[in-house]
């Protein structure tokens, strides 16, 4: 039962163009969404997040959009750079008795080609 889905296992984008990574979720109790970036042989690192009370959050080249009615979020990276090549995990959380339990998607491998 995948509550957070990333249906594209991989994505290739030309340097300088926009990268759009998509994520869908099924649990309407989720109230916080995060994107993590992971390089090989390293742990995931936090990239950007958005609360369910917002529909957009921007941080430099990274923007996350949330469409609650569609239970869909996306991460936009513009312009894409070679260092952006990594696996991107979408994640969602809902408070359960003082704990914050994050549910991760399966990841999308982004490759930026020159």
């Amino acid at each position: 039962d995948q509550q957070v889905k990333q249906n594209s296992p991989s994505l290739s984008v030309q340097e300088g163009r926009i990268s759009i990574l998509n994520c869908d979720y099924t649990n309407s109790m989720f109230d916080y969404f995060l994107w993590y970036k992971k390089y090989p042989a390293e742990g995931p690192t936090f990239l950007i997040s958005i609360s369910s009370i917002k529909d957009k959050n921007e941080d430099g080249r990274f923007t996350v959009f949330l469409n609650k009615s569609a239970k869909h979020l996306s991460l936009h990276i513009v312009p894409s750079q070679p260092g952006d090549s990594a696996v991107y995990f979408c994640a969602a959380s809902a408070e359960y008795s003082s704990a914050s339990k994050i549910i991760f998607g399966s990841g999308t491998r982004l490759s930026i080609r020159p």
Binding site: A41, G43, F89, A99, F104
Partner: protein, 112 residues
């Protein structure tokens, strides 16, 4: 100045052995987690401790036992290792009422 560290980074062992993975965070966070990343690359939560108290315990075989000697450490002990335990295990920590978790570099466990 590693924020969340894990040892060892790689662990190769035989079926039936008992092994431990250690995690330490120097961020002063209250809550720590263990995740398992399986062969399909899903990151699944296993346990969470808040101030040394177990608060999340997913459906994990009781061969897995987390131990938190203090709030900066959360170790994972695995008894009677099985082939299916082969995976990358990530430790993470979180502070207070934020949702952002900070991950360690992972421990790749291979059971032969």
């Amino acid at each position: 100045d590693t924020a969340v560290s894990q040892t060892p980074k790689y662990l190769v062992t035989q079926m039936g052995n008992d092994k431990s993975i250690k995690c330490e965070q120097n961020l002063g966070h209250d809550t720590m987690y263990w995740y398992k990343q399986d062969s399909k690359k899903f990151l699944k939560i296993m346990f969470s401790y808040n101030n040394k108290e177990l608060i999340i315990n997913e459906t994990v075989p009781n061969r897995f036992s987390p131990k938190s000697p203090d709030k900066a450490h959360l170790n994972l002990h695995i008894n009677s290792l099985e082939l299916g335990d082969s995976a990358v295990y990530f430790c993470a920590s979180r502070q207070g009422n934020t949702d952002t978790q900070y991950f360690g570099p992972g421990t790749r466990l291979t059971v032969l």
